[in-house]
């Protein structure tokens, strides 16, 4: 459910974000040229962090690029929903966050289908391989274990340095709820890291056993 009035500090017109979520057209006050210029500036300033945020949310750089593009198009459509320019960053994060959650929700629906949804080519690109390597460490795997909204809160707060008010705005929840969500995210991450370490230890023990067995057979 969307808050009206922007509990996190940036003002949004009532229902504007709902229209955004529905992909609705914008109001008559909307000026296409101003919107295009505004989005161009927004892109120049924030494309890197938005892409990084989405890449860590969906763990796929090519998909993240598509979602980043999608987010900026939505920003263009929703230009008139931003009433204070200084809140543009949190506003943009909110759009990107919803784009990511929408995708993840759709992906869950099609996950059981073989070879659909994520694969975009016959072989992964070098960029994708490099990114996957970068995203496949214990921390990234632990981050992947925790719920998406908690992951988003952690990323926004710790990696992208959003303030508490910005975090609430970007997540579309109240300040109190954002703080609570972040607390739960830290606890979830803690448990996920422990689980990751346990899984790694188990895998290592299994390799040791296999190695020992191989040595016995080799004698």
């Amino acid at each position: 459910m969307l808050d009206s009035g922007g509990p996190g500090g940036f003002a949004t017109s009532t229902g504007a974000l709902a229209r955004l979520a529905l992909g609705a057209r914008v109001t008559s006050s909307w000026n296409r040229d101003s919107a295009a210029l505004f989005v161009e500036g927004l892109f120049a300033r924030h494309q890197g962090e938005i892409f990084a945020y989405l890449a860590r949310m969906v763990r796929d750089p090519e998909l993240a690029a598509d979602l980043t593009q999608d987010a900026f198009i939505k920003a263009y459509r929703a230009y008139d929903t931003l009433e204070k320019g200084e809140n543009a960053r949190a506003w943009l994060y909110q759009i990107a966050h919803r784009v990511a959650l929408d995708h993840i929700r759709r992906r869950k629906l099609v996950r059981f289908l073989p070879f659909t949804g994520e694969s975009t080519g016959s072989s992964p690109s070098a960029e994708r391989i490099a990114m996957n390597t970068r995203l496949s460490g214990p921390l990234e795997r632990a981050m992947a274990r925790i719920p998406e909204r908690q992951r988003a809160a952690l990323l926004m707060a710790e990696v992208h340095d959003l303030t508490g008010l910005e975090l609430a705005a970007a997540l579309g929840i109240s300040h109190v709820a954002a703080r609570a969500l972040l607390t739960r995210a830290r606890e979830s991450l803690r448990q996920a890291l422990v689980a990751e370490q346990a899984a790694e230890a188990a895998a290592e023990a299994e390799r040791d056993i296999a190695f020992a067995r191989g040595g016995e057979h080799g004698r």
């Binding site: 593009q69 960029e127 607390t183 606890e187």
Partner: protein, 671 residues
């Protein structure tokens, strides 16, 4: 199972929960003073919460390590996004136009003005009935303002500056420099043209054929062609190293820190003093005789140097045609090139010029030696093994001292350069069978004159990467071009191979001498080099004149074919890191024009990276410039109806893009 009621925490649990919440949110923002005091008091008496605080802190530090390596967006992201936004706008327009008039109405049945008026009305009505229910009333800007074209996201690069000589419409020559900070995926619709930051007028009386920039950037070597008024030769010109001209329009002397400085070790005098002329002339006068000290021409537009060393420009070789590239040693102390007499009386010899000396010195006299490149601070050169009745190759002048007289010239004959096409009408008389001749390669220490022949056979014009791990060369024979003084490529192929510094197995152990481990750092060959002067070396297989202690420098023996013969001419250049290779293959029908390609080598395996093909093959004039972060070449005139440009391929890691200068008449990129 869902409990029918919510379990209530007891007081202790509630206080722990509150403590954890405050710890967790404390990283985000400051607490109220009351909360802070409460938390301090609680932590003082709660070991469990202290452990939680420590764990949260450690986890937070771990998460923040993600900031160190942010994923980089693709460089075309803006192009895609802008195009999508443009489509979005177009879609809106089409949506409004798609609203059809009621049946029975046809535009052709009513006057045009009435039809258009009705259309406007219908559009407004139609939009008001759109599914969103939000009436659209397009403003004037919605209709009249055109969408700016989607521009690709420029790729920021850290690249070395580039320089070129440009021929102005009035026929004068200008030396220009430019710095490169960004490139674009699509050079035609991407970055703005690369503009020069300095422009220096050169009063050259010679037509330039090639330009070489010294490593310090303080001087250029201009190779002049035989079509010049003063004849062919090599001249050295001091050039400003800072961009003072546009930046200082007033006729004041700029800050001393911006003044150009002579290269280290150079005995050249101070650079030209700036005059009120915004584009000072650096005058070169033709010199016909290479007499030391007599080739100077103090430009009247420059303040003459008090020393006897020229500061403007002077000829270091005249009456000779440079064959192939000229190149500075990596330390900038030497310039090497091969050249033959302009009158065609003999084949090429190797010339060395110590920076600051009055003249370049021919250090071979066999008239069949070709400069190939630098191997560290050693010269890497080729000679052609003569047939049995011909003089032996590689006769080196006794010392690198300047000669007291120009080399004696045999009777003039035509001397096409290697790589030139064979002219079937060039010779008259009885036909002679084609004899394939074999090139040899050797290194020469310019400081000591020591020469070390390489064991590899038929390795012609090798280019070794600056890190000493790979080499590109023609693996094949040469054929005399019929003039008696020149050769063309024979049977063979153009290959990329690993480079052995002598501590690894050579290409052919049957012909290789025992290795003695010449270091890869390319120090002068201290491992028992063979002093060349005035001995004769014929390093054919099994020849007794080859000493067994010759270090086995050379190809590692895993050649990969870049181009199959027959070929007309080629050249190759590695970037300073040795991982990017640009090579140029001449067009058989017009050898001054060729195809330039760049490939990327795996830094570890040295194999060609099949996933990276940044320059699949473009038309380029002979002679390119490669340096850190960029490759520059001159496009042939007439491409798409345009004149020549200096075109630059820049890179940042695995990403590449291009930019180019504005169109100009004739261009010579400084190598």
């Amino acid at each position: 199972m869902t409990l029918p009621f919510r379990r209530r925490h007891n007081d202790a649990e509630a206080s722990h929960d509150r403590a954890r919440a405050l710890i967790a949110t404390g990283f985000l923002e400051l607490h109220d003073p009351a909360d802070e005091l409460w938390l301090e008091a609680h932590l003082a008496g709660c070991a469990e919460c202290q452990a939680d605080a420590a764990a949260y802190s450690a986890d937070r530090a771990l998460v923040r390590t993600l900031r160190d390596q942010p994923p980089e967006p693709p460089r075309d992201l803006w192009a895609r996004t802008a195009a999508a936004i443009q489509r979005e706008r177009g879609t809106r327009g089409r949506g409004t136009r798609a609203i059809r008039a009621p049946r029975g109405w046809r535009a052709g049945r009513v006057p045009l003005g009435l039809a258009s008026g009705l259309l406007v009305v219908l559009v407004v009505i139609g939009v008001s009935l759109a599914p969103s229910g939000i009436p659209l009333s397009p403003s004037a800007s919605d209709v009249a303002v055109t969408t700016p074209e989607a521009q690709p996201t420029p790729l920021a690069v850290t690249a070395d500056a580039l320089a070129w000589i440009q021929v102005a419409p009035d026929g004068s020559y200008q030396f220009r420099r430019a710095s490169l900070s960004s490139v674009c995926p699509d050079v035609r619709s991407g970055c703005a043209p690369l503009d020069s930051v300095t422009a220096t007028n050169l009063a050259l009386t010679y037509a330039p054929e090639a330009v070489v920039l010294s490593p310090t950037g303080a001087q250029i070597v201009v190779v002049t062609s035989s079509s010049s008024v003063g004849g062919a030769g090599v001249v050295v010109v001091s050039v400003p190293t800072a961009p003072p001209f546009e930046a200082t329009p007033s006729p004041t002397v700029p800050d001393a820190s911006l003044a150009p400085t002579p290269p280290a070790g150079s005995t050249l005098g101070p650079p030209p003093t700036l005059t009120p002329n915004p584009t000072p002339d650096l005058t070169l006068a033709p010199t016909l005789a290479p007499t030391p000290g007599s080739t100077l021409d103090q430009s009247p537009s420059l303040t003459p140097d008090a020393s006897s060393i020229p500061s403007a420009g002077y000829s270091i070789a005249s009456g000779v045609i440079v064959v192939g590239d000229a190149a500075y040693s990596p330390d900038g102390q030497w310039l090497a090139f091969s050249a033959r007499p302009e009158d065609g009386s003999a084949g090429p010899d190797l010339y060395l010029w110590r920076v600051g000396d009055p003249l370049a010195i021919p250090v071979t006299t066999d008239h069949r030696t070709f400069f190939a490149g630098w191997l560290g601070n050693l010269v890497l050169a080729n000679s052609v093994v003569p047939t049995i009745e011909e003089p032996l190759p590689g006769e080196i002048a006794p010392s690198p001292e300047p000669p007291t007289a120009p080399p004696t010239a045999p009777p003039p004959t035509a001397t096409p350069d290697p790589g030139a096409t064979i002219d079937p009408n060039a010779t008259e008389g009885p036909e002679t069978p084609v004899v394939e001749e074999h090139p040899i390669a050797f290194t020469l220490d310019p400081e000591t004159g020591s020469m070390v022949p390489l064991a590899a056979q038929d390795m012609w014009h090798p280019s070794v990467d600056p890190t000493g791990r790979s080499v590109v060369y023609w693996s094949g024979t040469l054929i005399a071009d019929g003039t008696g003084t020149g050769w063309v490529l024979g049977t063979g192929r153009y290959v990329l191979d690993g480079w052995s510094d002598g501590s690894e197995p050579s290409i052919d152990d049957s012909t290789a001498a025992p290795t003695t481990g010449t270091p890869t750092s390319f120090a002068p060959a201290s491992a028992a080099p063979t002093t060349f002067a005035p001995t004769t070396v014929v390093p054919s297989s099994g020849d007794p004149t080859i000493e067994p202690s010759i270090p086995v420098l050379g190809p590692a023996g895993n050649p990969v074919t870049l181009a199959e013969g027959p070929a007309v001419d080629f050249d190759a250049w590695f970037d300073p890191g040795g991982d990017r290779l640009a090579f140029w293959l001449a067009d058989p029908s017009a050898p001054e024009v060729g195809t330039l390609r760049m490939i990327v080598l795996d830094p570890v395996t040295r194999e060609i990276d099949p996933t990276s093909d940044p320059l699949p093959g473009v038309a380029a004039l002979r002679g390119v410039s490669i340096n850190g972060g960029r490759l520059a070449w001159v496009t042939p005139p007439g491409q798409d109806g345009e004149g020549s440009h200096v075109q630059v391929l820049g890179w940042n890691g695995r990403e590449f893009g291009q930019v180019r200068t504005i169109e100009a008449g004739r261009l010579f990129v400084a190598r």
